[in-house]
């Protein structure tokens, strides 16, 4: 395996594995968020479990942070290397004739997602870490009730925040529309299931961000 990760294929492989991990996380995030539409109590219980269970907090959370940082850093490294591979650009380039906008602009959609994640962390993750690990309040309670659902609703009162979230989810869909299928190609998936995977990747890429948009609008319009 020596030199695998320093090769172009190894880097692609690592990028794809981190993408798979993030897509599984996204599905889990969505599964918990959608509970907020149907049941305040179920959402509170699930949020409290995720926020306090030791394995999630001390094992999965650091892995997730590593996965996110790795995916972004590797994305930038590859983009820089790829730009260096063509020093003089074409006077006329008709990229639209042979490839999708999504595939040619992964760095752009990735940057929008990165900016969104910064906002999302400021909105939810940093206050959560502050409450639990700086103030030392692991109860998840506020005035005797679970605080998670109310915090969620409060955030989506703002028109601007809701619009920014919805736009970010559209860019997430654009990123996934190319990225999901591309990840399978990168790990060498080439068999009788390939066509089915392509179909599934489109459903996931559109369905999950659309679900997040629905959740944001649901709480905003409520």
């Amino acid at each position: 395996m020596s030199g695998f990760l320093s090769s172009s294929i190894g880097r692609k492989f690592a990028m794809a594995l981190s993408a798979f991990f993030l897509m599984i996380f996204l599905l889990q995030h969505f599964a918990i968020n959608i509970l907020s539409v149907f049941s305040e109590s179920a959402f509170n219980k699930a949020s409290h479990f995720m926020g306090t269970f030791w394995a999630v907090q001390y094992l999965l959370q650091p892995v997730l942070i590593f996965g996110v940082v790795f995916h972004f850093v590797m994305g930038f490294v590859l983009e820089i290397q790829n730009n260096r591979a063509r020093k003089i650009k074409y006077a006329k380039n008709n990229g639209g004739a042979n490839s999708s906008w999504m595939s040619r602009n992964m760095i752009l959609s990735g940057l929008v997602i990165l900016a969104f994640m910064a906002l999302h962390f400021i909105d939810f993750w940093i206050p959560e870490i502050n409450t639990k690990y700086i103030q030392g309040d692991m109860s998840g309670l506020h005035n005797g009730e679970f605080r998670y659902f109310h915090e969620l609703e409060e955030k989506f009162h703002s028109h601007i925040r809701t619009i920014v979230y919805c736009i970010s989810f559209i860019f997430l869909a654009l990123h996934l529309l190319h990225g999901f299928n591309s990840a399978f190609q990168s790990v060498g998936a080439n068999n009788k299931y390939t066509r089915g995977l392509k179909g599934f990747s489109k459903i996931y890429a559109i369905g999950i961000p659309l679900g997040f948009i629905f959740i944001a609008l649901f709480h905003h319009l409520k």
Partner: protein, 248 residues
């Protein structure tokens, strides 16, 4: 047809180069693109100007020498053809046509529209072959049973002519389609198994050393490839490379 040509002119490998405009008239729609350039060059020579240097050999779409980036696409707007098989009927009277060399750090321009694609030769030398005993005991290839599906896929991969359109079209200047075709054509056959591990490791290593970019699966290479080499080959090479890395 009367056309305006915007052509990349570069005196030598060290020259900075620039796009230069030319007017050409009475172009027949039945001419091939290279014949149109021949006409332009005759006009330039008659005027005492330096003709435009461009690569060509067979002019039958099989040698892979012609390598022009026309109106923003490798081998021009037609599909499944090399530049020599592109005809002027694909353009309209009064059109402006951009003609540039294939651009990649690994394909330096030698002069005008001629690029040095010897990086591909070095990748081939690194492992794009099988060793055959030629001492008089050579086994008849037809005596080895191969299932038709694999044979067809191997032949499809082997149709790659190494023109470099994949590199030119790729926004990252990646050579993965070319290298994967060369890896696949042997990986699918029993004759290719003996050296399979070293082949893919060495060819990918050489590809990376040449300075090609990383594949991001945009699929532009497959669309622009004059021989229709499939992206499936890249997936196959990726899995071959992983297997070889685990073994080696």
């Amino acid at each position: 047809m009367n056309l305006t040509l915007k052509i990349w002119r570069q005196k030598n490998a060290n020259d900075k180069g620039k796009m230069t405009d030319y007017q050409i008239s009475d172009v027949s729609p039945d001419m091939s693109f290279l014949e149109m350039l021949d006409v332009l060059n005759n006009q330039l020579i008659e005027k005492g100007d330096e003709p435009v240097a461009f690569d060509h050999d067979c002019r039958e779409g099989i040698c892979g020498m012609c390598s022009l980036y026309i109106n923003g696409e490798a081998h021009g707007p037609d599909r499944g053809v090399t530049t020599c098989q592109l005809h002027m009927r694909k353009f309209k009277d009064g059109d402006t046509i951009y003609i540039e060399p294939f651009r990649a750090k690994a394909f330096p321009v030698i002069k005008d529209l001629v690029v040095d694609r010897s990086a591909f030769d070095r990748v081939q030398h690194a492992g794009g072959f099988i060793s055959v005993n030629t001492s008089g005991n050579t086994q008849d290839a037809n005596a080895i049973p191969i299932n038709k599906h694999d044979a067809d896929k191997s032949f499809d991969a082997a149709t790659c002519i190494g023109c470099g359109a994949c590199v030119a079209s790729c926004k990252n200047s990646s050579a993965m389609l070319f290298v994967s075709a060369k890896v696949s054509q042997f990986a699918l056959l029993p004759q290719g198994q003996v050296e399979a591990t070293d082949r893919v490791l060495n060819m990918v290593k050489q590809m990376d050393e040449e300075g090609f970019g990383n594949c991001t699966n945009t699929g532009a290479c497959e669309v622009e490839c004059p021989k229709g080499i499939s992206l499936e080959n890249i997936a196959r090479m990726n899995s071959e490379y992983l297997k070889a890395s685990l073994k080696g």
